[in-house]
Symmetry: C2
Subunit: 246 residues, 2 copies
């Protein structure tokens, strides 16, 4: 397997060392080589290196230390503005301000981000995806001054690693892959799929620290709670509307 894929780890501690311009440029070029809908490239990448901007982003991203430590934050955005502006300048009527194109453009932004992530690791850099991008899209829109037609989809922190964590666990491939049609798994199969994860010392510790009966309850009651999920769902839908896609 390609080493950058096989050995991928999320890096949450970074050295105080800038990313050379030539390396950053290669990462951004790699991002743009990804497949995209109709080769319209309806996405943009915002590069944050300025300390003040990164501090603002750190606040938005739930004050996760790595956001402040990493010398570069890349924010991948769905963006129909550039393409629509070009259409209007050509007496063509664009109609990409709708949910379909919000979703198409989101997919394209994510494909670009994964190319960037893999190319970064090829240059001995570490990365970490910031899932908080969707939760805090409104704040990120303000910080990065994103106009209507543009929504942040995902972000990666980028820098030289100052830690070397173990590979994280994954469910068995049989849990993820279905052949020809979707397989409804039995209770026994489901429990077996997650048993290895539940037995990991780090997970056992996680359950104890959170004073829960089991790992599933840590997810539902602590990490990704119903009230938060419903709150951020509605908030993100409102932002999609505000940015002109609904």
């Amino acid at each position: 397997m390609i080493p950058e894929i096989k050995n991928h780890k999320s890096i949450r501690k970074y050295k105080n060392m800038p990313v050379p311009e030539s390396i950053l440029n290669e990462i951004l070029l790699a991002a743009t080589r990804a497949s995209n809908t109709g080769n319209m490239q309806t996405y943009s990448i915002i590069v944050s290196k300025d300390e003040t901007k990164r501090e603002q982003l750190w606040t938005a991203h739930f004050k996760q230390n790595m956001v402040l430590q990493a010398p570069v934050i890349l924010t991948f955005c769905a963006d129909i503005n550039r393409f629509s502006a070009w259409c209007k300048l050509n007496n063509a009527v664009p109609a990409y301000n709708n949910f379909l194109w919000f979703y198409n453009a989101s997919i394209d932004a994510v494909l670009a981000s994964q190319n960037a992530a893999i190319q970064a690791q090829n240059a001995d850099l570490g990365i970490c995806y910031l899932g908080t991008t969707t939760y805090m899209a409104d704040k990120i829109i303000d910080i990065l001054e994103l106009p209507v037609g543009v929504i942040p989809v995902t972000s990666i922190a980028l820098g030289y690693p100052d830690e070397n964590p173990h590979l994280t666990d994954r469910l068995p491939l049989d849990a993820i892959v279905h052949h020809e049609s979707y397989r409804e798994d039995s209770d026994e199969s489901i429990l077996a799929f997650f048993s290895e994860k539940e037995a990991l010392p780090a997970m056992i510790k996680f359950v104890a620290e959170n004073k829960k009966d089991n790992l599933a309850q840590v997810f539902t009651d602590v990490r990704y709670k119903m009230e938060d999920n419903l709150h951020f769902s509605q908030k993100f839908l409102d932002i999609i509307k505000k940015q002109g896609f609904l």
Copy 2:
């Protein structure tokens, strides 16, 4: 740059040659090594090799020849079912049947797909993303028997290439990348960004064949028309609702 990224081309003609099981397995494993939200792996991959299934998928995917020719179609789905079932078996109340988790799971499915795409190319296979996945999600749900909680996000055709197309053009990096905050481009800049694309012989031919004044009009009037965009937008929103995420 990593050769699989640098030389990526969408392959639309495939040899009549199966993909060896060991290679397919490595591609699927590569997919699961991608970053994902909370390491919950809320996605599934459906492997279609059966001729009847691929013929049904070909019909759904606007009868694009490559879908029939490619020996394998991988459909990457947002899937909260496995994780939610595990929660319920552990007396934990899952709350992932909402828009936020549709979107989180979609992002994770796309990250997995791009790992698969890159690993496939490392094994001398060719791939092509099928953007028709979202347009025809209802048909694909029927064909692959996807239950509530599961939505197809993107698909890739996979097989040994029977063509060697040129690299496709990309906009200049300056068009895609913004520094520190979003840059509103002048009309002159926008026109300059697209000028190289418009001057390509293939694009000039494309405009002539479609009897349009310019390339932008080919996009707005032929390829991605307002009425289609609005139709498929509403259809996809209905499917998200039907599958339990809205």
